[in-house]
């Protein structure tokens, strides 16, 4: 059930989590560059450590600037709270380690960001956590992959790089039938285009490095808890939340807060012990970006629509993958779950394979060739030789990538200039094919 929002999304993006500071009356969010916080006295110190009083102790665990960012994304996403992390990868790792231990199992969409695929497929098995990857749109495969030791389902709102749309209502129902939560990576959509918690997801993560910041100057991640999952009603599947934790006053987090148990454990254990906290400088920079998130996402979507319209009719383009196109297998799903638009990232395949792809990338001048998405500036990459380099040809095909696939992240530039740059790249690809 969606959380009622106290204001519109653009208002929340500007104000949520912050009021002018009562001492200096600063309008902007101050950057609290401090590692630690002075206690009033020994009694105050003990009360903070024992969680009798709210407040900050050490910036690895919480920081006033980060707290504004955390509240802002929670307000936008309709969550009960959030935790800022050093990166999107750190947010994913924090979510997993809060819920899953050695011997645990995850079911994940096959269409994931390469870094997430590495973590789940190669790194976590070293720690006894295994993942079964399933096609994003194959609901029966999701059901069939669930085992008694499954503790989490995970997918991306819009998959990478094939732009598969995750059927969040259906997959969350599958997860809840199995009494496990669904975590959704909403990096490519942001709360301006989709709020997965409103559609049935239990947890949401963002790489704030991308659209949320928008400027490409700060790495950061955010993990949001919808507060709707019944940890205590899950048959003992989540002892980290429902049994006393010797590492923090013997606290039973679900007893302490039936609603925010996940956030309590994630902060009191995950941030404290693994230490992947966000710098307050990065939090400030991401907050600056978020102030204009609504305006930017509208422009990203508009520009992407015009670029796609240009590419689909180009003779050198074999196919364009974007859920707003009728030709995309998830077109109907996108119309239902992403009515405001499918973001600014899309991919297309060039005739001529790897050679044409390389020539195209090198022919571009305005698009930057780099491994990122969601920047204000337009970006381009050739996944087969970069982000998905480690994947076998079979795995590449299964993920919807060919050797000629190009992924574009549409920026905010004047769209005529972007079209001119694409034509420059296409001309280079044409010469390479000749």
């Amino acid at each position: 059930m969606p959380i009622h929002r106290n204001a519109g999304a653009d208002t929340l993006a500007l104000h949520a989590g912050q009021t002018p500071d009562p001492v200096h009356h600063s309008r902007a969010t101050p950057i609290h560059f401090t590692t630690s916080y002075v206690f009033d006295d020994s009694e105050h110190a003990a009360a903070l450590f024992n969680q009798e009083r709210a407040g900050h102790v050490y910036s690895r665990i919480s920081n006033p600037t980060n707290a504004v960012l955390e509240e802002r994304i929670a307000a936008l996403d309709g969550g009960v709270g959030a935790i800022a992390c050093a990166s999107g990868q750190a947010a994913l790792m924090l979510a997993i380690t809060t819920l899953v231990g050695s011997g645990g199992h995850i079911v994940a969409s096959r269409s994931l960001y390469g870094g997430s695929h590495n973590l789940l497929g190669y790194t976590l098995p070293r720690f006894g956590i295994r993942t079964t990857f399933v096609p994003a749109g194959d609901l029966q495969a999701w059901r069939d992959a669930i085992r008694p030791d499954t503790r989490l389902l995970f997918g991306e709102s819009i998959g990478n790089p094939g732009l598969e749309v995750l059927d969040i209502p259906a997959i969350s129902a599958i997860a809840h039938d199995a009494r496990v939560p669904l975590l959704v990576d909403a990096t490519l959509v942001t709360p301006m285009l989709q709020c997965p918690l409103d559609l049935g997801a239990d947890l949401v993560m963002h790489s704030a490095t991308k659209y949320l910041g928008g400027h490409g100057v700060a790495i950061g991640g955010l993990l949001v808890d919808g507060g709707s999952f019944d940890w205590e009603g899950s048959g003992g599947n989540f002892p980290t939340l429902t049994e006393p934790y010797d590492g923090f006053h013997g606290m039973d987090f679900a007893e302490e807060s039936p609603i925010a148990a996940f956030l309590l454990r994630a902060r009191r254990e995950g941030l404290r012990d693994f230490g992947a906290c966000l710098s307050p400088m990065n939090a400030f920079q991401i907050l600056q970006g978020m102030e204009t998130l609504g305006l930017r996402m509208d422009r990203h979507v508009d520009n992407a629509r015009q670029l796609v319209a240009h590419l689909v009719k180009h003779p050198l383009v074999e196919s364009v993958s974007w859920p707003e196109l009728d030709s995309h297998p998830d077109h109907a799903l996108a119309a239902r779950l992403l009515p405001k638009g499918c973001g600014g990232v899309f991919s297309f395949s060039l005739k001529g394979g790897r050679k044409a792809g390389t020539a195209f990338i090198e022919g571009l001048r305005l698009f930057s060739h780099l491994a990122n998405v969601g920047d204000a500036k337009s970006l381009a990459i050739h996944p087969a030789s970069t982000t998905h380099f480690r994947m076998s040809p079979e795995a590449l095909l299964a993920a919807g990538i060919t050797e000629g696939t190009i992924r574009l992240s549409t920026g905010l530039e004047t769209v005529a200039d972007l079209i001119e740059d694409l034509d420059r790249g296409l001309h280079a690809a044409q010469k390479a094919n000749a």
């Binding site: 009622h4 024992n50 009083r53 919480s62 969550g79 039936p258 925010a260 956030l263």
Partner: protein
């Protein structure tokens, strides 16, 4: 008296011990013990026994739900007795404050302190809200949040790092079974014995309000405060900047007010704080 099945009771992270004073926290409509965790942990760590039960039919406690303030008051007194507690300080928020008030009137020899938080008596519930609790819970939750939190908390700026207070409250209300909120609100609306109860209260009493409370505004407490005619000590205190949900909006200020008050009026062997 024994309860079967046993109601759930949070104790602030420590077991109760004989020889300690006891404080019993009573939550409000559609809530459970978790609204008291910060205050509970402090009292429990500073020489007090803490009982913060989920009222019948709320949170982890089995039903049936009790449908009048008087029945809840009896239940609270019986529950304390069932765990071996004779003398007890009662702290209640909103609906819980009416329960505490009525219990203190029914058992003046057992109640050491009365701490009414976000209280007013009578406590009429606006008809649109009462109707919404029955016909449209989502709308009722939104109305409660709108009236329960000060403007600052409506947009965040939470005292608890990273927590979206209004969303947390909405989820807590959603977690209760259908009908629970309506019966709680109806019980508040029907309770007319507040002034008579106040006249029978014998212990030191604190009426704690929040300056920006739109559910139980500070000004509305005056008639109730005047009705405390049997106790020598009635104090009114207003927390600035907070609304009706003051335990989460201003948890430190609420704790200080409660702690300083019980410390100023020690009883039953309790030393001044």
């Amino acid at each position: 008296m024994t309860f079967s099945p046993t109601p759930y009771c949070y104790t602030g992270g420590r077991k109760t011990e004989s020889g300690r004073p006891t404080i019993l926290f009573i939550h409000g409509a559609g809530h459970d013990h978790s609204v008291w965790t910060l205050q509970s942990r402090h009292f429990a760590s500073h020489g007090w026994n803490v009982l913060a039960p989920d009222l019948p039919g709320h949170g982890r406690s089995p039903g049936p739900q009790l449908e009048s303030i008087e029945a809840l008051a009896d239940w609270v007194l019986d529950f304390a007795a069932s765990v071996g507690i004779e003398h007890v300080a009662l702290a209640g928020h909103s609906m819980g404050s009416l329960v505490a008030l009525e219990a203190a009137a029914r058992a003046p020899a057992r109640v050491t302190h009365l701490l009414l938080i976000g209280s007013v008596a009578p406590m009429p519930v606006a008809p649109p809200l009462l109707d919404a609790t029955l016909s449209n819970r989502d709308r009722a939750h939104a109305m409660i949040n709108q009236w329960s939190y000060a403007p600052r908390a409506q947009l965040g700026a939470s005292s608890i790092p990273g927590i979206n207070l209004t969303a947390l409250n909405e989820r807590l209300m959603q977690r209760q079974a259908a009908g629970v909120l309506h019966k709680d609100m109806a019980a508040c609306n029907a309770y007319v014995g507040g002034f008579e109860a106040a006249a029978r209260v014998a212990c030191p009493s604190l009426l704690l309000s929040a300056a920006l409370d739109r559910m139980t505004p500070p000004k509305a407490i005056t008639p109730l405060a005047a009705a405390f005619t049997s106790t020598a000590t009635v104090r009114k205190l207003v927390i600035p900047g907070a609304g009706h949900a003051m335990m989460s909006e201003a948890p430190g200020a609420v704790l200080d007010a409660l702690w300083n008050f019980v410390g100023a009026f020690p009883s039953f062997g309790q030393e001044p704080q």
